[in-house]
C-alpha cells in the first residue's frame, strides 16, 4: 500500500462559545470536531457526510489549517501541518486546494474570471510572464468546460454552475494533490449538479487527484467516493468502503440516514420501511454522555450512556463506533 498523502490523527477543534458573565466572561467549548482520525491515499476520494452541525465543514477547514486545531495532528506527506510556521504552510498549501459551497459568494465580484483563476499563479509564481499565465488559465478553463473566450467576464455574468467551474479551475490551476470540496454542488440545480460531479471525477482521473468531498447528500457522495465517513456531533460514527457502507450500513445512525433519503420512485418510496428518528440532533454545546447518538438511537441501552464507543474494525474495510452493531 502506498504511503498515505494525508494522515489525520485524533483531530479536535473546539470553539469557545460565550455562555454568560458580564464582568468575567464565561465560555464553554463547542466540540465541532472531536477526535477524528483517517488516512487518505493518493487518487482517493473520501466522502464526508452528516447533518448540519456535525462538524463536516470544520473538519475540512481544520485539514487546511483555516481554523486551528485544538488537539491532534494533520500530517501531510509526513510533516505535521498543525506545527508549521506560516511560511512553511504556504509551501504546503500549494498542493492543498479548496472549493466552497456558494459559487458566487466565493468569487470576488470585481475580478474577472481570468484574474480569479490566475490568482494562485500570481501568488506562487510571481515571475511567470503574463502571456504564459494567460495560456495556462485558458488551458484550465477549457479543461473545466468554460469557453476560454470568457476570460474577461465577471462572476455575475456566469450562471451558478459556471461559477462553480471557475472555483474548480482556481483550485486546479496549481496542479494540487488534494482538493477539499465543501458542499460543492448543494447550491446547484439537479441538472447542473451532475455535470459538476462528472467534472470532478474526470479531473480526478486526469490528475490522480485526491478529494475530500463534504456533503449532506448521501446519494451524491455515493457516486463520487471511494470511502465514506459518517459524522455526528463531531465524532466518526462509521468509516467504510463505499459499497460496504451503502449495501450494509452497520451504525444505527447510518441506517437511519439512508432510510430517510427519499427514493425517486413512487412505488419503492411508499413501500419502504420507515425508520424515523425523533427530534433534532442535540446541541453540540451540551452533547450527551457516552455515545453522542444515544438520545435518538433506537438501539440505545444503559451502556451507551456510560461508555463512549470506540471506532473499531467490524469487517474488512468497515469501521464502526457502536456498542450494538452486531444486532
Amino acid at each position: 500500500m502506498p504511503e498515505p498523502l494525508l494522515k489525520v490523527r485524533d483531530l479536535k477543534v473546539h470553539y469557545p462559545v460565550r455562555t454568560g458573565g458580564v464582568v468575567v466572561r464565561r465560555f464553554a467549548a463547542l466540540k465541532a470536531v472531536d477526535g477524528v482520525s483517517f488516512d487518505l491515499q493518493p487518487g482517493e476520494t473520501l466522502g464526508v457526510v452528516g447533518e448540519s452541525g456535525c462538524g463536516k465543514s470544520t473538519l475540512g477547514r481544520a485539514v487546511l489549517q483555516l481554523v486551528s486545531a485544538t488537539a491532534g495532528s494533520v500530517s501531510w506527506l509526513g510533516c505535521d501541518l498543525t506545527k508549521q510556521t506560516k511560511r512553511e504552510l504556504k509551501d504546503c498549501r500549494k498542493d492543498l486546494q479548496v472549493v466552497f459551497q456558494d459559487p458566487l459568494a466565493s468569487l470576488d465580484p470585481r475580478m474577472t474570471a481570468g484574474d480569479i483563476i490566475a490568482e494562485p499563479l500570481r501568488n506562487y509564481f510571481p515571475a511567470m510572464s503574463a502571456v504564459e499565465r494567460k495560456a495556462k488559465v485558458q488551458d484550465m478553463m477549457a479543461k473545466v468546460g468554460l469557453l476560454p473566450a470568457m476570460i474577461n467576464r465577471y462572476p455575475h455574468e456566469f450562471s451558478g454552475g459556471q461559477c462553480q467551474r471557475i472555483g474548480i479551475a482556481r483550485a486546479m490551476i496549481l496542479n494540487p494533490k488534494l482538493v477539499i470540496c465543501d458542499e460543492p454542488v448543494s447550491a446547484l440545480d439537479v441538472s447542473i449538479r451532475a455535470q459538476v460531479i462528472n467534472l470532478l471525477m474526470d479531473l480526478q482521473k486526469a490528475f490522480n487527484l485526491s478529494l475530500i468531498f463534504i456533503s449532506h447528500d448521501l446519494a451524491v457522495v455515493r457516486h463520487i467516493s471511494h470511502r465514506v465517513m459518517v459524522l455526528y456531533l463531531g465524532k466518526v460514527m462509521e468509516l467504510a468502503e463505499r459499497d460496504a457502507l451503502y449495501q450494509s450500513p452497520l451504525h444505527p445512525y447510518t441506517q437511519a440516514l439512508m432510510a430517510a433519503v427519499p427514493i425517486p420512485d413512487p412505488d419503492k418510496e411508499r413501500a419502504k420501511a420507515r425508520v424515523i428518528l425523533s427530534d433534532d440532533p442535540p446541541s453540540p454545546l451540551n452533547p450527551p454522555s457516552g455515545c453522542v447518538f444515544r438520545t435518538r438511537c433506537p438501539k440505545a441501552t444503559g451502556v451507551c450512556a456510560e461508555k463512549i464507543p470506540t471506532l473499531d474494525a467490524a469487517r474488512a474495510g468497515q469501521e464502526v463506533a457502536c456498542h450494538h452493531w452486531r444486532g
Partner: protein, 322 residues
C-alpha cells in the same frame, strides 16, 4: 371538483432591463384532497405561479389570467377578499421557517392570531387551539413552546410551527413551497410524514413545490413539471416516474442520483445551462439542451397536449419511437 383552478396564468416582472415573464400561460387545477407536486429548477416559475395565487407577488410583478378559488377569481381581487381566503381557506408553508415567522412574537400568539382574525376566537380559545395544533404536528412539550420565541426553536420545530399555523383554520388547501429544502434528511422525513398525515386524515389538498423528485415520489398524486415558466408535462405520479414523455422530465429523472440502484461511473447529465428568462430561445425553450430536438423545435413552440386521460406533454418528439 377543483378547489383551485388556474387558467392561462402569466406572471411578469418589470425590471430595469424590461419585462421578464416568469410564468407563461400556465393552466393547472388542484382537486379536493389531492396532492399536486410541482417540480422544476430555479427560475422555472414553480413558486411564482402560487405566489400569484396567494396575491403575494413582489410589487413589480403583475399576473394575468384567472386563478379561481372555489369559483372566485383571485386576480385583481381586493385585499379584503384575498384575506378571507388566504390563511383561512388556503394556507401557505414557506421554505425558510426562520424568516417566515415573526421574530418578536411568541409562538402561541403567532398561531392564535389566525384564529382571532378569521374565526373571531377569544385569546384563551386561540391559545387552546394553538396548543392542540402543535400537538397534532408532534411538537414535543407543546405547552412550553407556546411561550417561546422562534429563535429558541430548531429548524425542524419551526417548520412544524409553520405547518401548524397553516392548518389553524382547517384550510381546504395548503401550498407548501420547498417545505423541507432547508432541513436535514432525518428532519425532512419527519416533516414529510406530518404532511402525509395532514393530507390523509384531514383531507386537505396540498400543492407541493419542490426540486426534489424523491419528495414528490413519496407524497404527490399528480405531478406537473415546469421549465422556463411553462408546464412541459403533467401526469399521475406513477406514470411520470415510470414513463416520462418529455425529454426534460426524462433527463431530470436520469440525473437524480439515487440510493436504490447500482452506481459508479459518470452520472447522466442534461447538457448546457438553464435558460435565461430574458433571452429565451425561440420555439421550445428546452431545445438547445434536448437530445430529441429537431428543426421544428427551434421554430415552433409545442403546446401542452393531452396524450392519455391523465397525461399531457408539450413536446413534438415521441420518446418511445426515438
Amino acid at each position: 371538483m377543483a378547489i383551485l383552478d388556474i387558467r392561462n396564468l402569466t406572471v411578469s416582472f418589470a425590471t430595469p432591463d424590461g419585462a421578464v415573464s416568469a410564468v407563461n400561460d400556465v393552466s393547472l387545477s388542484l382537486q379536493k384532497g389531492e396532492c399536486l407536486g410541482i417540480v422544476g429548477e430555479s427560475g422555472s416559475g414553480k413558486s411564482q405561479t402560487f405566489m400569484a395565487a396567494m396575491g403575494l407577488l413582489a410589487t413589480n410583478g403583475t399576473a394575468r389570467g384567472e386563478i379561481l378559488f372555489d369559483g372566485k377569481n383571485l386576480i385583481g381581487a381586493d385585499e379584503g377578499t384575498l384575506n378571507t381566503v388566504r390563511g383561512n381557506r388556503m394556507g401557505m408553508i414557506f421554505q425558510d421557517p426562520m424568516t417566515s415567522l415573526t421574530p418578536h412574537m411568541k409562538i402561541g400568539r403567532q398561531l392564535g392570531e389566525v384564529m382571532i382574525r378569521h374565526r373571531g376566537a377569544s385569546i384563551s380559545q386561540a391559545r387552546e387551539q394553538a396548543l392542540a395544533m402543535l400537538k397534532r404536528v408532534q411538537v414535543p412539550e407543546a405547552e412550553r413552546r407556546l411561550d417561546m420565541y422562534p429563535h429558541e426553536l430548531s429548524g425542524g420545530l419551526r417548520q412544524r410551527v409553520m405547518i401548524a399555523m397553516a392548518l389553524m383554520c382547517s384550510p381546504e388547501a395548503i401550498i407548501a413551497d420547498e417545505p423541507t429544502t432547508a432541513l436535514d434528511v432525518t428532519v425532512q422525513a419527519q416533516i414529510l410524514d406530518i404532511l402525509r398525515d395532514v393530507k390523509e386524515r384531514l383531507n386537505t389538498a396540498v400543492v407541493l413545490i419542490t426540486h426534489d423528485l424523491g419528495v414528490i415520489a413519496g407524497l404527490a398524486d399528480r405531478v406537473a413539471v415546469m421549465y422556463a415558466g411553462r408546464i412541459v408535462e403533467v401526469g399521475d405520479v406513477r406514470g411520470i416516474f415510470a414513463d416520462p414523455q418529455h425529454p426534460y422530465t426524462k433527463g431530470l429523472l436520469a440525473c437524480t442520483p439515487r440510493l436504490d440502484d447500482a452506481c459508479g461511473g459518470l452520472m447522466t447529465t442534461i447538457s448546457g445551462q438553464p435558460p435565461n428568462l430574458q433571452r429565451l430561445p425561440a420555439g421550445c425553450a428546452f431545445h438547445p439542451r434536448c437530445g430529441y430536438a429537431s428543426e421544428r423545435c427551434s421554430a415552433e413552440r409545442p403546446a401542452l397536449e393531452q396524450t392519455a386521460p391523465t397525461r399531457a406533454k408539450a413536446c413534438f418528439a415521441n420518446l418511445k419511437a426515438a
